[in-house]
């Protein structure tokens, strides 16, 4: 029982910590934006409010906080979480032998041990490798993932003068809103598709440049798998683009707060349940994790990074976990309502200052991201690996037609009813059908496993 209450306490403390962390991020963005403004004023000699300076300052702060803190720390914590969470799933304890003052600290010290191991490992490289591409591949695998997180709208925009300490800084509307989002581009999801398709270069080049047949096999598998799944990945999000009539992720999040069926908000999960499933499956294949982990078959020694050692391997390894974080962020923004806290949203909005409401929203976003990361690590222990033809079949014969049908149904529903209510009802119907199918058990009860059955099986 102690552990039960302790865990509840830990979860509550985590949520509170996320809210405080988000508040800190907002403060950093606001103050750095204002600092850039002051710097620009000092350089140009004309004190005043400069929109680009505030925007750049806030973006630099967001690069530091969101990319380096949220993305990198969650990606490296996920390496530990993978061990501990899979242990919990499999009734084990998991990594706990490194102890700090007698406490295993949930396995987190293993992070330091892993980093130390990766950094001090002997560097072994194949002869005949293509030197430039070999060195370039880990960076090419890691950089797009990093860049992808730039468009994730972690927190909503608030006015600069709503941030504590900056009340007299600038009138509302005089400068860009301060949001926890590195870049607010018009292209939005198109940028996502473009950068996501760059990931394949890192893996394909790593396999090709290693001068190793098994690595090449892994690279070829990775490229064919990722290129296939990009099709259904793109098509699955077309439905949400139609439903919210925008490509910008932050506008999608705002649109998800509008009530559509009575008080129920127009979440992406409600309007596009099929799109969600297809996107999740396709993006999962893009991350190259089990059950789609053919590019790195341990049992076949195939893997695009078999010839990498030390921190170069570490970078390829970390890129995979960073992809998980980015995927969790995209799903949260597009399908789970982004920074909308969903529960008690009206009450929170009325009783908190805009700054603290935004902080709670960003905390809710990160909490939803954690749930989605957990779901991705869970799937790994749920399904056995696909065979390669099964992977291609799933993509081209199941996900792609379903995505196409989803696009047409969404378009037709919005043509008939532009308010989106019809689409929401279709979504509710889909969710109910899936729930009924899931709850219904079609399998006949197993025959009594008695002694007689053994004789029958043996034929006497």
């Amino acid at each position: 029982m102690n552990r039960f209450f302790g865990m509840l306490l830990v979860i509550a403390a985590t949520l509170a910590g996320l809210v405080l962390l988000s508040a800190g991020f907002y403060l950093a963005a606001g103050w750095l934006g204002w600092g850039f403004n002051a710097l620009a004023g000092w350089i140009s000699g004309s004190p005043g409010v400069s929109r680009p300076a505030v925007y750049y300052g806030a973006s630099v702060a967001n690069v530091l906080t969101l990319l380096l803190v949220v993305l990198m720390i969650s990606a490296s914590l996920l390496t530990v979480a993978e061990r501990k969470w899979s242990a919990l799933i499999q009734n084990r304890i998991g990594a706990n032998r490194i102890k700090v003052f007698g406490s295993a600290l949930g396995g987190i010290p293993f992070l330091a041990a892993d980093a130390l191991k990766m950094l001090t490992k002997e560097r072994i490289e194949t002869t005949g490798r293509t030197r430039v591409l070999y060195e370039l591949a880990p960076m090419l695998a890691f950089a797009p993932v990093f860049a992808l997180f730039a468009i994730i709208p972690v927190g909503q925009g608030i006015e600069l003068n709503q941030i504590p300490g900056l009340a007299g800084a600038a009138a509302a509307g005089a400068v860009e809103q301060i949001a926890l989002q590195v870049s607010r581009t018009d292209t939005g999801l198109l940028y996502l598709f473009a950068i996501a398709s760059l990931q394949v270069y890192g893996t394909a080049l790593a396999g090709w440049a290693s001068n190793n047949k098994l690595a090449l096999l892994g690279g070829v598998r990775a490229s064919s798998q990722m290129i296939s799944y990009e099709v259904s990945l793109g098509l699955s999000l077309v439905g949400t683009m139609i439903a919210y009539r925008t490509l910008r992720l932050e506008e999608m999040v705002v649109a998800q707060g509008n009530p559509v069926l009575g008080p129920v908000p127009a979440l992406g999960l409600l309007l596009q349940p099929i799109g969600f499933l297809i996107f999740f499956a396709s993006a999962f294949a893009e991350t190259k994790r089990a059950p789609f982990d053919l590019p790195e078959g341990e049992s076949e020694i195939v893997g695009y990074f078999v010839e990498y050692s030390g921190m170069k391997f570490g970078l390829l390894f970390l890129a995979e976990f960073a992809e998980i974080v980015v995927l969790a962020g995209v799903i949260t923004a597009v399908f789970l309502g982004g920074w909308h806290p969903i529960l008690f949203e009206g009450w929170l909005r009325q009783n908190l200052t805009p700054f603290w409401f935004a902080a709670v929203g960003a905390g809710a976003f990160i909490a939803k991201m954690i749930v989605m990361m957990w779901l991705q690590l869970t799937i790994r222990w749920l399904l056995p690996r696909f065979r390669f033809d099964q992977i291609q079949k799933l993509c081209w014969k199941l996900l792609l037609p379903a995505a196409l049908v989803n696009v047409f149904v969404t378009g037709a529903a919005l043509l008939l009813d532009p308010s989106g209510q019809l689409l929401a009802w279709i979504g509710v119907l889909t969710i109910v059908v899936i729930a009924v199918l899931t709850a219904a058990v079609g399998r006949a009860p197993a025959p009594a496993a008695g002694h007689g059955a053994a004789h029958a099986a043996a034929g006497h």
Binding site: N2, N91, T378, L398, L437, T438, A453
Partner: protein, 239 residues
């Protein structure tokens, strides 16, 4: 236990794939939450630990060096040379164990007690634990119950192979044993002081002459009793 599995193609619901995946996520989540919110039973008596049910996690892990599962009583552990009450080995250097050993890992050099012209003892008794295949033949072959594998321990690890060669000084340990018909008890031995001899005679047990003897069996299990039951059944069936 084998039972017949129905090898049929998946039905429509199963071939839709996602419902079954969602069910699987449900199962996994159940395990995850249970193990997250409830702790392992840390009862030092490992076999009595509670698992599953409300309030206990499903965890099966033993933290090995700190927590060890008890071995079965019949576990064949590290050899020991059984001592007598006066500290000398029961072994009479008959070479039975060295002869039967399939791995040929036992080396014996016999010697005689200077004050007792009848009795022999092993001047050297060496077992190479690296060659030993832990078959237990030496224990079965021994006519004097002088070598046993009842220590319940593994061979301890070492950095050198030479440390795995156990001689009589390391092997001679554990509780002493005496049997009523031990020759040195019946006729006395110059090497044993008379008062010690009386004590040893008083403690001596009857020797298990055959493997079916009650003394050498697990309590509650008796080959003779089972055989008698079978004989009675057969007789009842004949009538």
């Amino acid at each position: 236990m084998p039972y017949q599995l129905e090898n049929r193609p998946p039905d429509l619901r199963e071939s839709m794939y996602f419902p079954e995946i969602i069910r699987g996520i449900g199962t996994i989540t159940k395990h995850f939450l249970k193990n997250l919110f409830f702790s392992r039973d840390a009862n030092p008596d490992i076999l009595a630990r509670k698992r599953g049910g409300f309030g206990h996690s499903d965890n099966v892990t033993l933290q090995y060096p700190e927590e060890r599962a008890p071995y079965a009583p019949a576990y064949r552990g590290l050899h020991r040379l059984v001592p007598r009450e006066d500290g000398k080995p029961r072994c009479v250097a008959c070479y039975m164990c060295a002869t039967i050993c399939p791995a040929q890992c036992i080396y014996i050099e016999a010697a005689e007690y200077p004050d007792d012209p009848v009795e022999k003892y092993p001047a050297k008794f060496v077992i190479d634990e690296l060659r030993c295949i832990v078959c237990g033949f030496c224990v079965e072959a021994c006519p004097k119950d002088a070598i046993r594998m009842d220590s319940g321990e593994h061979t301890p690890p070492s950095y050198e192979r030479s440390a795995q060669i156990w001689d009589e000084k390391r092997l001679l340990r554990g509780p002493p044993v005496s049997y009523q018909y031990d020759p040195w008890l019946r006729r006395g031995s110059p090497s044993i002081p008379p008062d010690k001899l009386e004590e040893m005679r008083a403690r001596a047990k009857p020797f298990p002459t055959v493997a079916t003897d009650e003394a050498s069996q697990t309590p509650g299990f008796s080959v003779r009793a089972l055989a008698a039951e079978a004989r009675d059944r057969a007789q009842a069936a004949r009538k």
